[in-house]
């Protein structure tokens, strides 16, 4: 399956980015082959509202089944949910470490937004 991890850099050794909507990069990884692809989210960094929604939309274009990130607000969660994408929470570590944890079933699936939206 394909998953996306929010990342502060462009390779597997980068730290994960805990902020979903304001993450600079996404690493999209195929968990069977370990092949990965780097997706830029830079165009959503500076928009004044709806960064989470736009980021979720951006990710949904890459046919991933799950997203691993730190904090995901209610609107981003709703959007991901609607796109059929599951959200898993991870707070720190590198992309590679988080990926390992995910493969070993060590990450918890988020049942809802885990931070308040900026406008809520």
């Amino acid at each position: 399956m394909k998953i996306a991890i929010t990342s502060v850099g462009q390779d597997l050794e980068s730290k994960i980015d805990a902020r979903f909507g304001r993450a600079k990069w996404f690493i999209v990884i195929d968990t069977e082959t370990n092949q990965h692809q780097v997706i830029s989210n830079e165009h959503n960094l500076n928009i004044s509202q709806g960064a989470g929604i736009q980021t979720a939309e951006n990710i949904s274009r890459h046919n991933v089944e799950a997203v691993i990130t730190g904090n995901c607000g209610p609107k981003a969660f709703t959007t991901l949910n609607s796109a059929g994408i599951k959200v898993y929470s991870a707070v720190d570590g590198t992309v590679a470490e988080v990926l390992e944890k995910f493969k070993n079933g060590k990450l918890k699936q988020a049942g809802g937004a885990n931070v308040e939206g900026h406008w809520a």
């Binding site: 509202q49 709806g50 929604i53 949904s60 609107k75 406008w119 809520a120």
Partner: protein
């Protein structure tokens, strides 16, 4: 005074006594024989009514049109999400999601939708109340519903509702962001209320830039003025801005305020001060 006049009272920050000044000014205007409307455009936290104690006799809801999508007609083309500047509508996985609270009601999405899947429904986000404060003084304010963020349309509604009197006093919200611009856009004169503290003057500077940008004639009221604090005075002199009046730092004003009383009504000497102020403003605005 020949033509109708709208005067806005603004301040770069909260707590400068803006409401006391604008409400007092409204009373002074009414008492000097002008048919006056006081409009509280600080819709996130209106408090003019606490001092003016109006009888409210009319209220109406204010809403904006938000999109509702008929999923049967929708072909998931995604155009609506592309046009929306506010991320209030987005198409993912053949579903269209809408986030009403983020929608500015621009109508763009329903315009671009090729299949007419989008209709507009009104969503209320605040209320405008109008009333009377007795002789010559009409009252109007807007109250934004809890959790709402877009105050400009409500502010515009307040201003539209109360227009028509000879003299309108607009109480703008503190700061220099969109709501303030909505409150002072197109007025004839802006009264900037400040304090002679470094913070006060710093915010005054920003507020002055804003009114200059908007091209509105303006003057300054220094509130809680202390003779030896010259910061605000110096700033106005250096920038060629007229100080219309300095209201002294007076215990009695604070005491009146804490009782929900205007200095205009409750403290000796202030009736004259505000009557003079309104005359000065009319003269300045008329130039």
């Amino acid at each position: 005074m020949k033509q109708k006049l709208t005067i806005a009272v603004a301040s770069g920050k909260g707590g400068t006594g803006k409401t006391t000044v604008s409400a007092s000014l409204a009373c002074a205007a009414a008492d000097t024989g002008h048919k006056t409307a006081y409009m509280d455009c600080d819709v996130e936290e209106p408090n003019g009514h606490l001092f003016l104690k109006p009888t409210i006799n009319y209220r109406h809801m204010v809403g904006i049109p938000v999109p509702v999508v008929d999923q049967d007609k929708c072909t998931a083309c995604g155009l609506c999400g592309e046009i929306c500047q506010f991320s209030a509508i987005v198409c993912v996985n053949k579903n269209v999601l809408t986030f009403d609270k983020m929608c500015h009601g621009c109508g763009g999405c329903s315009l671009v939708c090729p299949t007419e899947a989008i209709t507009e429904h009104s969503r209320n986000f605040g209320v405008v109340e109008t009333g009377d404060c007795g002789n010559n003084l009409k009252f109007c304010h807007g109250k934004l519903d809890v959790g709402e963020i877009h105050s400009p349309p409500l502010i515009e509604a307040v201003r539209e509702t109360a227009q028509g009197e000879d003299l309108s006093i607009v109480d703008a919200s503190p700061g220099t962001s969109c709501p303030v611009v909505a409150a002072i856009k197109g007025v004839d004169y802006v009264l900037l209320v400040t304090e002679p503290t470094p913070f006060g003057v710093n915010d005054l500077e920003i507020a002055v830039d804003m009114v200059k940008e908007l091209g509105i004639p303006h003057g300054v009221v220094i509130n809680r003025s202390v003779p030896e604090h010259t910061l605000a005075r110096d700033f106005c002199r250096d920038n060629n801005i007229k100080i219309l009046v300095e209201i002294p730092d007076d215990r009695r004003v604070a005491e009146a305020y804490s009782k929900g009383e205007l200095p205009y009504k409750g403290v000796e000497g202030y009736r004259e001060l505000f009557k003079e102020l309104i005359d000065t403003i009319i003269e300045e605005a008329g130039r």
